[in-house]
Amino acid sequence: MSEQFDGLDRLIAGEKAAWDRFVTRFAPVIFAAVRRKLGPAGRGEDAEDVAQDVFIRLCARDFRVIRNYDAGRAKLSTWLTVIAHSAAIDHLRRQKARAQPLESVPERYLAVDPPKDPVKVVIPPGLLSPRQALVLEMLYQREMEVAEAAQVLGVNPQTVRSTHHKALVKLRAHFREPED
């Protein structure tokens, strides 16, 4: 099945049949993305409403969001997946903003950064590349497995291990710790 959709031009022009085909084709994509995010958080029953909100956003203001889509940059299904996940996360954030027992909130949502101590710890710009910092964040702060981190980055696990190792070599040198 093609990942793209023939007829976006007609959809943007307001052709009803093109919109109906678009909905039929991508409702499963959007719904699956929303449900995958809301389900584990205990808000699975909101999935249909949040998915509907995504469609509202897509056709609002004369299909302004869809007009900004560029087929040359990313697949339509990937783009819609990102939008759907973003909507689901926003929905969960709004739900959390209302009164909720603290013990029902997953621990990682309560994570608080340790207080900064710029006098003791100074990391010079460029010491770590964004990817190196991201790998360390995923492995140690998010406690992800190497394979999981590799999937997020879209690379193979050995690349993650290599990036991890290089980052630690730099940090040891910065903190003047010996390399064995």
């Binding site: 249909e48 973003s86 950064d113 900064k116």
Partner: protein, 189 residues
């Protein structure tokens, strides 16, 4: 853990090193301090291109810097990646179903424009519509003309009635009998 990282030393002190470095790095990566890192999420199209492996190295670095700096960003991208992975596993030929009610509600967001039925009836209606548009000024003229005729007729009837009244008033008693009081409407025959 050493098997996970392939290096015993990395496994033993990695967590501690990052715990020491992280505060300083996050202070560096705060919005406005590090170029290319802002609190605002990159465009979804950029994020989608990242997930598709379609960004150039500089753009990819900016997205990864944003992901590293903001836990919500990493959460979004990790979730999206997982969904895409699950879809790959299912295969492109199959999809998780969505509720029919969602499809109907979403399709209902865009309405079809009003259309005339096809065929002879549509042609006639179209013709009538076009003609009415053209005849509108004429229609008003026609109505005005009818009103004028009716008014004129009423005036004339009134005038004749008045004449008869004057005649009657001017006539003597004997003349009344002579006049016979014939119907003024006969004048119009």
């Amino acid at each position: 853990m050493s098997e996970e990282f392939g290096n015993a030393k990395d496994a033993s002190d990695g967590a501690g090193l990052w715990a020491r470095a992280r505060p300083g790095w996050r202070a560096l990566a705060s919005p406005g301090e590090a170029p290319g890192v802002s609190g605002e999420a990159p465009d979804p199209l950029i994020l989608a291109a990242y997930l598709d492996g379609a960004l150039d190295p500089a753009e990819r670095e900016r997205v990864e810097a944003w992901m590293a700096a903001f836990p919500e960003a990493l959460e979004l991208m990790a979730a999206a990646r997982e969904t895409l992975g699950a879809r790959e596993t299912l295969g492109k030929g199959s999809r998780e179903p969505s509720p029919e009610s969602l499809i109907l509600r979403a399709q209902g967001l865009v309405r079809a424009p009003l259309r005339e039925p096809a065929g002879l009836l549509a042609w006639l209606r179209g013709l009538a519509g076009l003609e009415i548009q053209a005849w509108r000024p004429l229609a008003w003229a026609g109505v005005t003309a009818v009103l004028l005729v009716v008014s004129a007729g009423s005036f004339e009837l009134g005038r004749l009635g008045t004449e008869r009244l004057v005649s009657v008033q001017n006539a003597t008693l004997g003349d009344d009998l002579a006049l016979g009081l014939d119907d003024p409407a006969d004048d119009f025959l």
